[in-house]
């Protein structure tokens, strides 16, 4: 029943609480297959919470989330992830006591062609092969980010959620990351949160601006670049 819809993911009026604090008031996002969609907006707007809500780490209070047409709102995180979602958290959260191989091994799900995906990962991130048997606590910030992405890539996921990949990375690493993501987004659609203007605009095909827990603006890459007022109005850049 793999109806290859145009959209991998649709969020309709999604609301979320953290404890008793109301964070998301109404998020509406559509992610098209084979593309990269970027969530922009000032800090504290609810971008990270949106990714956490999609991945199931924070169940939504209201609204629907359609993954490939199926409503996954409220399902436990492991079920959503197992149905083909990869999640790369803001501060990477790599398992430092495990080696790179072990990080990837436990992320690989049943029925996944582990060796084939491993080749793909080594191609994209050679460092992973170099330190494959080492404990991942020795990795640098950039390498840790690569491992975190590799964990999401080890399975042939429909959708990969990435939370501020450029955070804390040197410019040359950001450029390297840009063309990696541009490759990844072809087969495994990407939804990412990004503050770095250069990465956002050189990776993203579609953009949403999230402010005070709501998606306030939507546009394509061309519209964004053409119209400076959007940047002024929403991002204060």
């Amino acid at each position: 029943m793999d109806n290859i819809t145009e959209n991998i993911l649709e969020l309709h009026d999604v609301e979320t609480f953290i404890g008793q604090y109301h964070i998301l008031f109404g998020v509406n996002i559509t992610v098209r297959k084979g593309s990269a969609t970027v969530l922009l907006g000032r800090n504290g707007g609810g971008k990270t919470t949106t990714l956490e809500t999609i991945s199931g780490l924070r169940p939504p209070f209201a609204g629907t989330i359609l993954l490939d047409g199926k409503d996954i709102a409220g399902l436990p995180a492991y079920e959503i992830i197992q149905s083909g979602v990869g999640y790369v958290p803001e501060d990477r959260d790599i398992f430092s006591d495990l080696t790179i191989e072990e990080n990837l091994l436990i992320s690989s799900r049943k029925g996944n062609d582990y060796d084939k995906r491993l080749e793909l990962v080594f191609e994209l991130f050679p460092d992973m092969k170099k330190y494959f048997k080492k404990k991942s606590r020795i990795l640098s910030g950039g390498q840790a980010q690569m491992l975190s992405i590799s964990r999401a890539l080890i399975n042939d996921n429909k959708l990969i959620l990435i939370d501020e990949p450029s955070k804390g990375l040197a410019p040359i690493l950001i450029r390297e990351l840009i063309d990696r993501i541009n490759i990844i987004k072809k087969d495994n659609t990407v939804l990412l949160v990004e503050q770095n203007w250069e990465m956002a605009t050189s990776v993203g095909d579609y953009f949403y601006i999230v402010q005070d827990g709501m998606t306030v603006f939507e546009c394509t890459k061309e519209e964004l670049l053409a119209d400076d007022t959007i940047k002024q109005k929403y991002l204060g850049v």
Partner: protein, 310 residues
């Protein structure tokens, strides 16, 4: 209910509690009410820590036990007058509270609980070991009560309990009390607001320690002997029962808990020798389903803001 007739009601009840049992004239009932008052004071002091500051100490019975031993040792062995003994208890309680506040510096939440439990056990072991001072397992007998008879003692105990309750209520509602409740919510955030949380925490540890010491003094006056059983971890568990069963963080909850515990243990022990099993199960049920305890049942049970169960 305007405050005025509430005040009248309170005073009327106070009078009733003081007069009626005195008329009944059974010193057994008096000694039970004294015991309820003693454990209520001890439970209130523990609630100040657990309920209002979120400090989970499993060594709180150290103050209670050591206070009893200090009074027994100074009055029986050293023949000190009672007031001198009370002075010594205050000094010792402050010293012990200093140790505990030091421990709060080095360890946080769960670790603090483990370490305080170990400190409590250390005092228990010392009470059985240093028999030259503590009389070992047989304890230190021979303490003369400062109250002429049980009726006077009982009236004094009720009045002391009411004073302790009012004092604690005032402390909790004071600005310092508010800071302490903030410490309970999020220690770091309060720190960022510029409050020296360590200073506030050590103040409340000191106050609760002194109140527990007061309960210890009354205990040894009632029973005339200090034995290792009051430093034992089962005493820690009993005081925990009273606060949780009654309603943590409410101050009047622990009094309810103390009353329930005492009356139930007397009535239940009449029927079965395994009455502690009933308490244990009761405690687990309360922890699972009634976190607010008996007193909390009156408050509205707050609903979490989540459409779907996690």
């Amino acid at each position: 209910m305007k405050t005025k007739n509430k005040l009248v009601l309170a005073l009327a009840l106070l009078a009733a509690v003081l007069v009626v049992p005195a008329l009944i004239g059974s010193s057994y009932i008096h000694s039970i009410i004294i015991t309820i008052c003693i454990y209520s004071i001890f439970a209130i002091s523990y609630d100040l820590l657990l309920g209002y500051t979120g400090i989970v100490s499993f060594g709180h019975t150290v103050y209670f036990g050591v206070a009893a031993y200090v009074v027994a040792f100074t009055t029986v062995k050293l023949h000190w007058p009672f007031l001198a003994a009370v002075g010594m208890v205050i000094v010792v309680c402050v010293a012990i509270s200093f140790i505990f506040s030091l421990v709060t510096l080095r360890t946080k939440n769960v670790y603090f609980s483990m370490v305080t439990m170990a400190i409590g056990q250390l005092f228990y072991v010392m009470s059985t070991k240093l028999y030259a001072i503590t009389g070992g397992d047989d304890g230190l007998p021979g303490v003369k009560s400062i109250f002429p008879n049980k009726t006077v003692f009982y009236i004094a105990a009720v009045l002391i309990l009411v004073c302790v309750y009012l004092f604690s209520k005032r402390l909790v509602n004071s600005p310092a009390g508010r800071v302490l409740q903030g410490v309970k919510e999020n220690d770091a955030r309060i720190g960022m607001l510029g409050y020296n949380t360590f200073k506030f925490k050590s103040i409340v540890i000191q106050i609760s320690g002194l109140l527990a010491g007061l309960a210890g003094i009354l205990y040894v006056n009632l029973n005339g002997i200090a034995t290792p059983s009051i430093l034992n971890s089962s005493m820690t568990l009993q005081i925990l029962f009273m606060v949780i069963l009654g309603g943590v963080g409410t101050l009047h909850g622990p009094v309810i808990g103390a009353a329930i515990m005492q009356i139930a243990s007397i009535v239940l022990s009449g029927f079965t020798t395994r009455w502690m099993l009933i308490f244990g199960i009761g405690f687990v049920v309360v922890m699972l389903f009634f976190p607010k305890g008996v007193a909390g049942v009156f408050d509205r049970f707050s609903q979490p803001n989540q459409l779907r169960k996690e």
